[in-house]
């Protein structure tokens, strides 16, 4: 088996607020192998974004630990990119779209930065928006800028929080395939939160189903759809339909007949 990239052990986080503490996640545990694409699904408000933030080292978890390549995460790990759920706020309004995408690429020569940004923007279908400011774009376009920025960075670990929520179905399909291609070509490890059950099955090597808040892992569903997937044939396949029903059932709390992998 490929080496473990990410290991989450007994993770718990409690937000402090004036009304008292609030447990967002509790006793979460799972591992992600290098190069794997794991999709996370779970009810709204269960703690998915919190999980992503702890993995990214942006919040220090109250309990448990996250380790990358065996070393515990303390602070933000290297070679990481995040596509935030709140994409519009994560773009810098004082930079043009092009500069937003170039922003994390420090260290590279200017020309290369520009080339990478242009490439990433073209990949998400925004080749002509480079000189605009984020607020001059539609919601879906802004979300794609955030995706382009993460892709241009070429991270080893990519965390995505509902990255396709604001784009139309057609664009979504294209972006999904883009993600699969990037993963194949660059061997990126990806943890992706989604609300779209079909998407989780279509994209994932594994689907992680979380419980209601405080989130813990309800089930981990391996997805054996092979490496090469295709929007029409894969989605029409029997395994796909079956897996999808399984995920939906798990989400609704319907107990599964066959035991699921822990």
């Amino acid at each position: 088996m490929t080496p473990t990239m990410l290991q989450v052990t007994d993770l718990g986080h409690t937000y402090q607020s004036k009304d008292g503490p609030y447990d967002a996640i509790d006793a979460l545990g799972f591992t992600v192998a290098a190069g794997e694409l794991v999709c996370v699904v779970g009810p709204s408000g269960c703690g998915k974004s919190t999980l992503l933030r702890t993995v990214a080292g942006l919040i220090r978890p109250s309990r448990g630990s996250v380790s990358l390549h065996g070393t515990p995460v303390d602070g933000v790990p290297e070679d990481l990119a995040v596509v935030f759920q709140d994409y519009s706020r994560s773009l810098f309004p004082w930079l043009t779209v092009q500069r937003n995408v170039e922003f994390p690429l420090r260290g590279l020569p200017r020309a290369e930065r520009a080339a990478r940004a242009a490439e990433a923007l073209a990949a998400v279908g925004l080749e002509r928006a480079g000189r605009k400011y984020p607020w001059q774009l539609s919601g879906g376009m802004q979300q794609r800028v955030a995706i382009a920025r993460a892709l241009a960075y070429r991270p080893a670990l990519l965390l995505m929080d509902e990255p396709f929520a604001s784009v139309d179905a057609q664009t979504r399909f294209e972006l999904e395939d883009l993600l699969l291609r990037v993963r194949r070509e660059q061997d990126t490890t990806i943890l992706l939160v989604t609300h779209d059950i079909d998407e989780s099955v279509y994209l994932g090597d594994r689907v992680l189903v979380l419980s209601k808040s405080p989130a813990s892992v309800v089930a981990q569903l391996p997805v054996d759809l092979g490496e090469h997937r295709d929007q029409i044939t894969t989605r029409a396949s029997d395994e796909f339909v079956e897996l999808r029903a399984k995920v939906a059932g798990l989400l609704q709390g319907v107990p599964q007949t066959e035991p699921v992998a822990p």
């Binding site: 942006l58 935030f84 706020r89 994560s90 004082w94 400011y133 607020w135």
Partner: protein, 260 residues
């Protein structure tokens, strides 16, 4: 056409105010409040005489230098205090204490430590730095959470984080501070020229005041207004460039703001 309208809008209130002032002062006929036409006459005499070079240029040079220094210091310290809780905890109270000491009371302090004749610049900097500092602290603190997270996730270098994220998001507030500092610099330029100075607008203004040469005194006051207006206009131009990215400059936002 639009330009004409804009100019008219900009000056109508000013012109009306001056005209009213003329009428009121003419009616009141008080030596202490000469009408604008009399002031203009006195202004013409002093502004276009060697007095201008002798008294205006050195002071204004000091004022611009002092203002620039307070801008740089204010922004640098403001970002430090705005982003570092520790720095704020240790330095905040001391700064708030120093900020609250009325500058005229500091004159003996500066006179003793720096010297009566060379304390003009420090006086300006010490008084003008606070609006920039406080506003920058505000701006630096208010960097949107998601942007903070974004910057951290991409592991931005320190300078990139400070210059590329914190500074731009604080910039609108910094400009508010700079505009306040600008007029405070001018005011402190005058105040600091009252003591230990052999030239300067403040020196001349008070001299005219003591000589009961009121038109001349008013002419110096008006000159301060003119200088303030001029520098402010230049600053606004810079601001317009630096903040061009703000959505408020779009026609949609404008019409929304004016209810159109």
């Amino acid at each position: 056409m639009n330009l004409l309208k804009g100019t008219a809008q900009r000056w109508v209130v000013f012109v009306v105010a001056v005209a009213l002032w003329e009428l009121v002062t003419r009616a009141a006929d008080d030596v202490f409040f000469p009408p604008p036409t009399t002031i203009a006459e006195a202004a013409g005499q002093i502004w276009f005489s060697p007095l201008f070079g002798e008294h205006v240029v050195p002071g204004v040079g000091r004022m611009l230098l002092g203002w620039a220094l307070s801008g740089v210091i204010g922004v640098a310290l403001g970002i430090l205090l705005g982003r570092s809780r520790t720095a704020m905890a240790y330095l905040g109270p001391t700064f708030n204490f120093m900020r609250s000491i009325p500058p005229p009371l500091l004159v003996p302090f500066f006179a003793a430590t720096i010297g009566v004749t060379s304390m003009q610049l420090p006086t300006i900097v010490f008084g003008a730095v606070w609006p920039v500092l406080l506003n920058t602290v505000d701006g630096a603190r208010a960097v949107d959470d998601t942007k903070v997270d974004t910057a951290r996730a991409f592991r931005l270098s320190g300078p990139q984080w400070l210059l590329g994220v914190v500074l731009p998001s604080a910039l609108p507030k910094v400009f508010a501070g700079l505009r306040l500092s600008l007029s405070i610099s001018l005011i402190l330029m005058v105040v600091s020229e009252l003591v230990g100075s052999i030239n300067g607008i403040g020196n001349q203004l008070v001299q005219a005041q003591r000589d009961y040469d009121l038109p001349t005194m008013w002419a110096w006051i008006v000159l301060l207004g003119v200088l303030g207006y001029l520098f402010n206009t230049l600053l606004l131009l810079a601001e317009l460039r630096a903040l061009a990215w703000q959505p408020r400059h779009s026609p949609e936002a404008q019409s929304l703001a004016t209810g159109g």
